[in-house]
Symmetry: C2
Subunit: 178 residues, 2 copies
């Protein structure tokens, strides 16, 4: 089985990426502490060509050496914005027409096992220790939860982001094809 | 919307985890360089209660300070094994009855968009720079590829592992329910 070379992958350049049609998903990071997580989210966001990433509160922004280490240049292709407050960001995205989804373990959350929502959407991901602030959870249209059956209380934030971005991408393109 | 407390999450203890029925998935790391990636894979493996993680070649093993930093104790719940060679690991898992799936960008790969295989399975993930060795790719039953439409050539290995583990978990429990 022949492994594809970098040329055979035929990827976009950063300028082609900026011009190209996007997957209508926005990722909102609510006070994420680790720059490595920010960079890793940008790298995955590049792979699925998502609309943009909103960095809120204490979340770090490019240019930054630690972000670059895990983004590997995706900070130059993916559009990003900074907001002082996550609530301000949510209000602005809602005005633009995005459904607001908090990825959090709450009573009455939507189980990601059955999740097939492919509407234009902003997903919020929370702080490594505290999760999403109660205020931001309350401002969301609904909460989405990845079922967990192990011993730990949560997944790593960049892994969570990857799982949700992947399923959204799949939902969106399946809807598009129908 | 009420955020669940740690007690309300009602997670397993490490000894309950070891006794509990597992998701019949094994993750094989083929010469993964970063201890942080190893720890992160263990943490996600805990969340989906997967069978075990096989650490091959130069891949580091617990106990290790860097692995602990991202595994957060999942190295004590999830079963892991070390193999000198990935090929030796693949041969042993095949004898146990597992389907061997290489997560790699190759000609003729199965697109993860349509992937719904929930059979007992070992998924191989490769080195951060070189990917999976050609020898290990050739030893697999088939290759699985996450579609990418951005500028970068690959996803981070722990994010890739999370996306594949999640989709396998979903496929498996959907099959189980049918």
């Amino acid at each position: 089985m022949h492994k594809l070379s970098i040329l055979e992958m035929n990827r976009l350049t950063a300028s082609e990426f900026r011009e190209a049609e996007k997957t209508p998903l926005i990722v909102v990071l609510d006070n994420v502490r680790s720059m490595y997580n920010v960079g890793s989210v940008l790298r995955t966001a590049d792979g699925f060509r998502i609309e943009r990433v909103c960095l809120c509160g204490i979340t770090g922004t490019p240019p930054n050496k630690e972000i670059h280490k895990t983004a590997l240049g995706a900070e130059d292709s993916v559009k990003w914005e900074y907001y002082n407050s996550t609530i301000e960001c949510i209000e602005s995205l809602r005005k633009e027409g995005y459904i607001i989804v908090a990825v959090e373990q709450v009573e009455g959350s939507q189980n990601m096992m059955e999740w097939c929502d492919g509407r234009p959407m902003a997903i919020i991901l929370g702080n490594e220790v505290k999760g999403i602030s109660q205020e931001a959870v309350d401002a969301a249209d609904y909460c989405l939860e990845i079922p967990q059956i192990g011993t730990k209380h949560s997944f790593n934030v960049s892994c969570t982001a990857a799982m949700v971005m992947w399923q959204y991408f799949r939902n969106y393109y399946i809807h598009e094809r129908l």
